[in-house]
């Protein structure tokens, strides 16, 4: 019970009249790696964006590391400091160098001294093998390099959970591998990860559980081996046949 780091109970969300999440229940334990897949429009991005309150849910409860997500802003900021997110469009800050991108939050949110923040940042950048580009600006790097920098930036806040929203979908094929390698390394290091992706190879290698979503509902949730070997629902079978 107490090692559940994310608890989602009966979560419902509407965009205007359109219901995008229907009665979603999900529990995530620490160090678990979960992959979420499904057709576009199924609500998978919305699901993880609710976890760090980039989207608001209208019904149900979401508890992250013991804190419930409500309109209380102080709470939200506390939760966001523990949850890191990597975006499909990277969203690095173009006016700051890679190093400054990484040290921004530690300095201004955790009030770290600049030297300490820079050491921390360089360590994270080394982990994703991009330390030599630290002084460069995002506009000077390739897509794969930018995404790895984005991962390092999120890691600099020492999050307990890392959320990935289709991290490789905007990359050219030859750069997908370098980003996936960085994510695999992170997973093997014990990080709790929820990854929305179509990269099933990654899921097979690293995920503990795979979730299939369609039309706002969790259709199937199984341990990885079971998911690929014996998908229970017809919709899952159809989806897998299309992407594998």
């Amino acid at each position: 019970m107490s090692d559940k780091i994310i608890e989602m109970k009966s979560v419902n969300k509407w965009f205007g009249d359109f219901q995008v999440l229907k009665d979603v229940n999900l529990d995530v334990k620490q160090t678990q790696k979960i992959v979420v897949c499904g057709p576009s429009g199924s609500g998978k991005s919305t699901l993880i964006r609710c976890i760090n309150r980039l989207e608001e849910h209208q019904k149900g409860t979401i508890i992250v590391d013991g804190n419930e997500l409500t309109e209380d802003t102080k709470n939200i900021e506390k939760i966001r400091a523990e949850v890191g997110m990597v975006f499909q469009q990277f969203n690095l800050f173009p006016h700051l160098s890679i190093l400054d991108n990484c040290t921004l939050a530690p300095i201004w949110v955790k009030k770290m001294p600049k030297k300490e923040a820079e050491e921390l940042a360089m360590k994270q950048l080394e982990q994703v093998q991009i330390a030599d580009q630290a002084k460069k600006f995002p506009g000077q790097l390739s897509g794969g390099q930018q995404q790895r920098s984005a991962i390092a930036r999120a890691l600099c806040m020492k999050p307990k959970i890392m959320l990935f929203d289709e991290p490789t979908s905007a990359l050219d094929p030859e750069m997908i591998k370098e980003v996936l390698d960085a994510m695999v390394k992170l997973a093997k290091g014990g990080m709790t990860m929820i990854v929305v992706t179509h990269e099933m190879g990654f899921a097979k290698e690293v995920a503990d559980e795979v979730i299939f979503m369609d039309e706002g509902m969790i259709v199937e949730k199984q341990p990885t081996k079971e998911f690929f070997a014996n998908p229970k629902s017809d919709r899952t079978k159809l989806f897998l046949s299309q992407i594998l």
């Binding site: 800050f93 939050a105 001294p113 460069k136």
Partner: protein, 383 residues
């Protein structure tokens, strides 16, 4: 060999054509001037001007030279340009931000303002304020006092004049405050780098800027008196205000029209700048835990300013050039005083118009160069 000719021939041809045109004009000018007995030269600038100017920031009357008159006009132009830039920026920023408000009423009101004032010619707006709106103001004797010390009349806005005692001490205290603010900012920055602690620099700076000069009133012997305008009767039906500062209605009308008109363009620049920052930037900043204020200060504004500043500076340039419309309502700016009155008196059309155009050109080029330098310096580096 062939390629070289292809490149050189058109250039020579163009050069030849340009030289021909200029030569033609110069020749004609020479002939015309000879026929009319006009000389060409800039010596007239040191002659006595023998005309007065209604409103001037420096000492001037008819016994001063034309060069002095030029200076008077130039200063008046710079004055109205400065006031226009100040007010239009404030108004433009407010309206620009209002255009992005989720409040339907606020957004629509701002949009209405922009569409309304943007589509009416500036000259028409100047005429409206000067000939219609300001003419409806009361005569000096009928004016109601604003806060008991200012009077808005058909002859102008009369406000109290500051009379300083020991102004230099006050001045030094302001300088001292500024220096200490710079020192404190550096200190705060070092502190943050070394220990991570943050000082409320803004509050401290504001406090210093207010308290130090105020102290001079208490212990520095500085005192500020207001010379309030007083109604005086000069004939049976006409009154005027003596003392205090009189702001001529021409200046008011011009500043009002210029500010309201230019603010619409600045509002659009500001709006484009802030909208140009993609949602993903704000989300990424939020996801690493920055507060809304920090997001604005560290992520949104640095990027938005890069988009906002170049076109806004262009608008400042337009405002300065548009201030030449002052000629239409007899505000003594550079064009009216120099290219108007002075030219009519001396008949030196070519010299005077060339000096005037050259002045405006210099202002434009200076600002362009400044803008180019600024752009190069802050350009976001790309591949």
């Amino acid at each position: 060999m062939n390629i070289k000719i292809k490149k050189i021939l058109p250039q020579l041809a163009t050069l030849f054509a340009v030289v021909l045109i200029f030569g033609f004009f110069t020749f004609n000018a020479q002939v015309n001037m000879d026929n009319r007995g006009i000389e060409f030269g800039y010596g007239f600038l040191s002659q006595e001007s023998s005309f007065d100017v209604q409103f001037s920031l420096i000492e001037y009357d008819g016994s001063h030279s034309y060069a002095k008159a030029y200076l008077v006009g130039l200063l008046n132009t710079l004055l109205v340009a400065f006031l226009g830039i100040l007010f239009s920026t404030i108004l433009g920023v407010v309206v620009g931000i209002a255009r992005l408000s989720p409040n339907y009423l606020i957004e629509r009101s701002a949009a209405f303002y922009v569409e309304f004032f943007r589509n009416i010619p500036l000259l028409l707006q100047i005429f409206f304020w000067y000939f219609a709106a300001l003419r409806a103001l009361p005569l000096p004797q009928d004016a109601e006092a604003i806060f008991g010390i200012s009077f808005l009349t058909i002859k102008g806005l009369f406000v109290p004049r500051f009379v300083w005692e020991n102004l230099d001490i006050f001045f030094y205290s302001v300088i001292a405050a500024i220096i200490s603010i710079v020192v404190i900012r550096n200190y705060a920055r070092k502190l943050q780098e070394n220990q991570g602690r943050q000082l409320p620099v803004f509050s401290i700076s504001a406090g210093l800027l207010i308290i130090l000069p105020l102290l001079t009133f208490l212990i520095g012997g500085v005192s500020l008196n207001f010379e309030i305008p007083v109604l005086e009767q000069i004939a049976t039906t006409s009154y005027k205000y003596t003392g205090g500062l009189g702001i001529p209605p021409e200046l008011i009308a011009l500043t009002l029209a210029l500010s309201l008109y230019t603010a619409t363009f600045i509002a659009e620049c500001v709006r484009a700048g802030i909208q140009g920052i993609s949602k993903g930037q704000k989300e990424a900043a939020a996801s690493i835990g920055l507060t809304p204020n920090q997001i604005l200060k560290l992520v949104v504004m640095p990027q938005a300013l890069r988009i906002i500043i170049p076109p806004t500076t262009n608008q400042y340039l337009n405002l300065t050039k548009n201030s030449s419309l002052a000629a239409a309502i007899a505000y003594p700016d550079l064009v009216l005083v120099f290219a108007g009155t002075a030219m009519m008196q001396t008949g030196r059309a070519i010299e005077i118009v060339s000096i005037t155009m050259f002045t405006y050109l210099s202002i434009s080029l200076a600002i362009s160069l400044l803008m180019n330098w600024y752009n190069k310096k802050i350009a976001i580096k790309e591949k």
